[in-house]
Amino acid sequence: MNAVTGTADDVDGFVVVGASLAGLRAVESARRAGYRGRITLIGAEEHLPYDRPPLSKAFLTGPDTPVYLATEAALRDDLGVDLRLGQRVTALHPDEGVVAAGGGLVPYQRLLIATGARARTLHPLPVLPGVVTLRSLDDARAIRAALGRARRVVVVGGGFIGAEIASSARTLGASVTIVEAAPTPLVRAVGEVVGAALCVMHERYGTELRCGVQVSELIGRDHVEGVLLANGQIVPADLVVVGVGALPATGWLAGSGVELDQRDGAVVCDEYLQTSVDGVYAAGDLVRWPNAVFGSSMRLENWTSAAEQGTRAAVNALVPARRAPYASVPYFWSDWYGQRIQFVGTAQADSVVFVSGDPAADRFVALLRRGDRLVGAATLNEPSKIMKYRRFIAQDDGWAAASAFSRDGGQPVRP
């Protein structure tokens, strides 16, 4: 072990599979932590790591200018990364310490799995031209082009991606209908009360929202012409965007010995983000791990946790002296119709209290309570408040502290 940095000097060969946010943060973090061995970053897409949040928002309504998170020179020259783009990793063989990629084998001593998630589809409904999902930059380019022509858009799924795409389509002047199978959208992400409150915005900005109804058929021969709902109604459409969630992109790990969650294929990790296989770590959307802040296991699909997990997993894999559990209060944000939504914590709560505004208002602060604890906070257009509540969530007396803070008008208490 290196006495100065605490890195394991006998380790030479850190392979990161997945060149998006978590993978990028991992290679940056490895170098910053003093790791001097070889690093290989393998990405299935041809693109340099790019920023995904704009793909459902500004990228659809503005110029075709993706935001890249790093330059090729920064990766190859500054960080000394062996960058392999356009290579899909197809298998992991832990006994031999290799992954199969691009027709060859890449040896590793420490491995980070960061292949993210893939968009769920309406399978077994057949794929028809004009029916699209959004996950990658190439997907976003296709939707962006289609939105330029579309007059009637149906978005299947009222979650965050669906709502953001609906908002973008409205901005471009299309008539938009969201079809959501659940009675209320967003229940898993923010709970029923906050989900219903946020969806008030759809009506306010002219998007039709139909809840509690499934899509039973996609209508059209050469191109989609509409969707048939389970209640017999037909909604005409020249573009159908399917936003019904994402599943861990872990098919390539089948049979590798890495434990996957039977329900969704997530990679099961310990609190250090190590998988069931020694020396193999994971980060990002595909990770299920025990989050000590809440005493429960979680899988998160958001920017913040992908960045944090990539950073932490690399250190844990390569620097034994700085190994630490990953525990975090989740945070995500979304923008609909130019309005800023922010959420911290978890939606697994007993009750919800609006401490400012109300569910129909164009700005509010809602606190989510479980027992004596503040477990979550949701805001609409209250950007100065949200991070103050994030701090209370990690505290045992968080509900009392948050209540006192909100009674003071939510102003920061300064010494």
Partner: protein
Amino acid sequence: MRIVVDRARCSGIGICESLDPSHFEIGDDGALMLLSDIAAEDDDTVLEAVRSCPALALSVQPE
């Protein structure tokens, strides 16, 4: 070192405030306020906040 905010990029997401409330705070209008734009060269908390900006709006310059 001095903290620099690219106002054209910043959208008030607030991860900087969460990591280092002594330097960063989001105002009611959603704009980032720098409570102090000066930090020690080895202030890892500031550097982490700068690195963690989802909008790539933060940087540091030598004084």
